[in-house]
């Protein structure tokens, strides 16, 4: 039994089989990586988790209830929080506001007409957001707008926005894509730091360095099917993986 159970998911785009009988069990508290060559179906699979795509057949169960057919905000309210490939933030708002908004969403639900109380009156939200900003190392910039930040900083901000909601399951879509080595390492450290808190994570990643530093378990996707699922050390030596993904080269 996993916290996220994917059963026999199929998804076709016209004649193209993007996903073919995909099964996946993600254990609570683990970091589960999904890797695979380009076009293997990683993003399609992730989009099925968050309601952007609906599988043709199969089920996606989270904590015993289905995720299929839910709207994005409902999936978030259920505890599945997503980090985007390119950081998605509120670029015209201050960093603090960026983190306070998800904190409000967590506390007040999908909608609350809180139109006449000053934001400053909600001290606990502010403190929670500040705490989170401190943790990702952006506390000093709290009043700046986020539009001019580096990509690494934007990623950290987005992580803060996601983590302030105390997610049950965190979906990371190539969290270090397009980052410098230093930013990548900083992000890995950050993810490890918060990994200790028992947040379940699914990481989709190209960068093997990131995958092997983070993951407890790895599923390898090729041509829409999971060809292997195992712990990282076994994945490294697996011939099937090397053939499908690494083109025969040794790691």
């Amino acid at each position: 039994m996993g916290i996220l159970e994917v059963r026999d998911v199929n998804k076709n785009f016209g004649g193209l089989k993007a996903l073919h009988n995909v099964n996946l069990d993600v254990q609570e508290g683990s970091v589960h990586a999904i890797i695979g060559p380009n076009g293997a179906g990683k993003s399609t699979l992730l989009n099925c988790f968050i309601g952007r795509l609906t599988p043709d057949t199969g089920s996606v169960m989270f904590n015993g209830s289905t995720l299929l057919g839910l709207k994005p905000h409902e999936i978030n309210q259920a505890g599945v929080v997503r980090v985007f490939q390119t950081p998605e933030i509120f670029s015209e708002l201050s960093l603090l506001e960026n983190v306070m908004i998800p904190a409000f969403a967590k506390r007040d639900g999908a909608f609350k007409l809180n139109a006449f109380s000053d934001v400053a009156r909600h001290g606990e939200i502010r403190e929670k957001a500040m705490h989170m900003l401190e943790e990702v190392g952006l506390a000093n910039d709290r009043d700046k707008t986020s539009s001019s930040m580096s990509r690494g900083d934007k990623r950290r901000l987005e992580l803060a926005m996601c983590l302030v909601q105390d997610p049950v399951l965190l979906l990371l879509d190539e969290p270090t894509a397009g980052m410098s080595r230093a930013d990548t390492n900083a992000t890995i450290d950050l993810l490890k730091k918060i990994g200790g808190r028992g947040v379940t994570k699914i990481v989709i990643e190209h960068d093997m360095h990131v995958v092997f530093s983070l993951a407890d378990r790895i599923s390898v996707l090729a041509q829409g099917t999971v060809i292997v699922e195992d712990i990282p050390s076994k994945i490294k030596g697996n011939e099937k993986v090397q053939e499908a993904y690494l083109g025969g080269a040794h790691l």
Binding site: N76, E88, I101, F104, A110, F116, V119, Q165
Partner: protein, 387 residues
């Protein structure tokens, strides 16, 4: 100095509102040198200030550009006149009824229009407003009295005050015997303006307002943050529709007549212009914009060929004739042409509106005077929360 208004810190809010109230109530004094201190014009400043403030709650915060807000102004007006007709000339019930009915209209129109965003939304609101205009102008003539316009008649029911108003006096709205025309009318509208601006300030600084700003910045992100954006935008739409309804009712409080032309697309466009002229997303901007437009409308409309001939009389006859015929295109009946040109100029050159323009000038001035140190400059340039 203007950044005082655009950038609100929590403690200064009340102070600012008090300052604003003083400025508004003192209009008869400080507007006198501009020749604008007569009640009729100041009433319009206050009323259109409310209209634009409400519009700004939608457009300034969420970025949804409604092109049909005049519909709610018109609905408010018709409701107010009907309340006068049925209940009597007291403005309070009329205002309350207008706000409620305009809010219901906004709920209905918003529910459908907000299914789409961006350009679609603008087009849909424009179409709805045009539909309301057609309804008022012809289809619903029994309710709206068509092109003649709806007014209060002597033999109307007027449940509560029919006996008290004599047969002789004009049918004017009044509270406790004070007729809502002239200066009392202005002060009545001014009080409501201050209240509505105070409410708008609260909304701007509330968690709700913050969510609306987030809608404007990145709606997709907000959805994946667990927020259902539709009810937020709908609430903003309804609130701004209620502001418009109130403004519409006030127009009838000072002059109990409602006509369909109030709902035309030009009226919807005017409130958009007021808001961007003053400065979208700032508290004071839309009010400033409303006042400027109404002021210039007043001045420009007053010109006619006679006054123009007087102005250019120092020129040789031929030139005088030429100048008069050219300028007469832009004044009097031609006010709309000036309005259109102003529209284009503002959008092209100053999309941030007058408040941004003044801020720029202010910063430039500070730098020239050597007052603006680096840190201070940075502080001034950082966008106000509302922008």
């Amino acid at each position: 100095m203007l950044s005082l208004f655009t950038k609100s810190s929590e403690k200064s809010d009340l102070l600012l509102l008090a300052l604003f109230a003083v400025v508004v109530f003192a209009m008869p004094i400080w507007l006198a040198p501009f020749g604008a201190a007569y009640p009729d014009l100041m009433q319009r400043f206050a009323i259109y200030g409310i209209f634009a403030t409400g519009f700004n709650i939608l457009f300034g915060l969420t970025g949804y550009l409604s092109f049909g807000h005049a519909a709610f102004l018109g609905v408010g007006s018709y409701t107010a006149v009907w309340t006068f007709k049925l209940l009597g000339m007291n403005p309070i019930p009329a205002i309350i009824a207008a706000i409620i009915v305009a809010g219901l209209f906004a709920l209905l129109i918003g529910f459908i229009s907000l299914r789409r965003s961006g350009i679609y939304f603008s087009i849909l609101t424009l179409a709805f407003a045009q539909m309301c205009y057609n309804l008022a102008y012809s289809v619903l003539t029994p309710i709206t009295n068509g092109e003649t316009g709806l007014r209060v008649l002597r033999d109307d029911l007027r449940l509560f005050d029919a006996p008290t108003v004599g047969d002789g006096g004009p049918l004017l709205s009044h509270i406790g015997g004070i007729e809502m025309t002239g200066m009392p009318g202005f002060y009545f509208a001014a009080v409501l303006l201050v209240i509505m601006v105070g409410l708008a300030m609260r909304i701007f600084r509330s968690p709700f307002g913050m969510m609306l700003k987030a809608v404007k910045t990145n709606q997709t992100r907000l959805n994946y943050t667990g927020v259902n954006t539709r009810p937020y935008t709908l609430a903003a739409f309804v609130i701004s529709g209620m502001y418009a309804g109130l403004a519409g009712a006030l127009l009838c409080v000072i002059d109990p007549l409602a006509g369909a032309e109030r709902m035309q697309w030009t009226a919807s466009g005017e409130v958009v212009l007021m808001t961007i002229l003053g400065g979208v997303g700032t508290i004071i901007g839309p009010i400033l914009g409303a006042a400027l437009i109404k002021y210039f409308e007043n001045i420009f409309s007053a010109f006619n060929d006679q006054t123009l001939n007087d102005i250019f009389s120092f020129l040789p006859d031929q030139l005088q004739e030429g100048f008069v015929s050219v300028t007469s295109l832009f004044v009097g009946e031609g006010w709309n042409l000036s309005l259109g040109i102003l529209f284009v100029i503002i959008v092209v050159f100053l999309p941030g509106g007058v408040t941004e323009g003044l801020n720029r000038i202010g910063r430039f001035g500070l730098r020239r005077l050597g007052i603006g140190h680096k840190s201070k400059n940075e502080d001034e340039t950082s966008p106000a929360p509302g922008e």
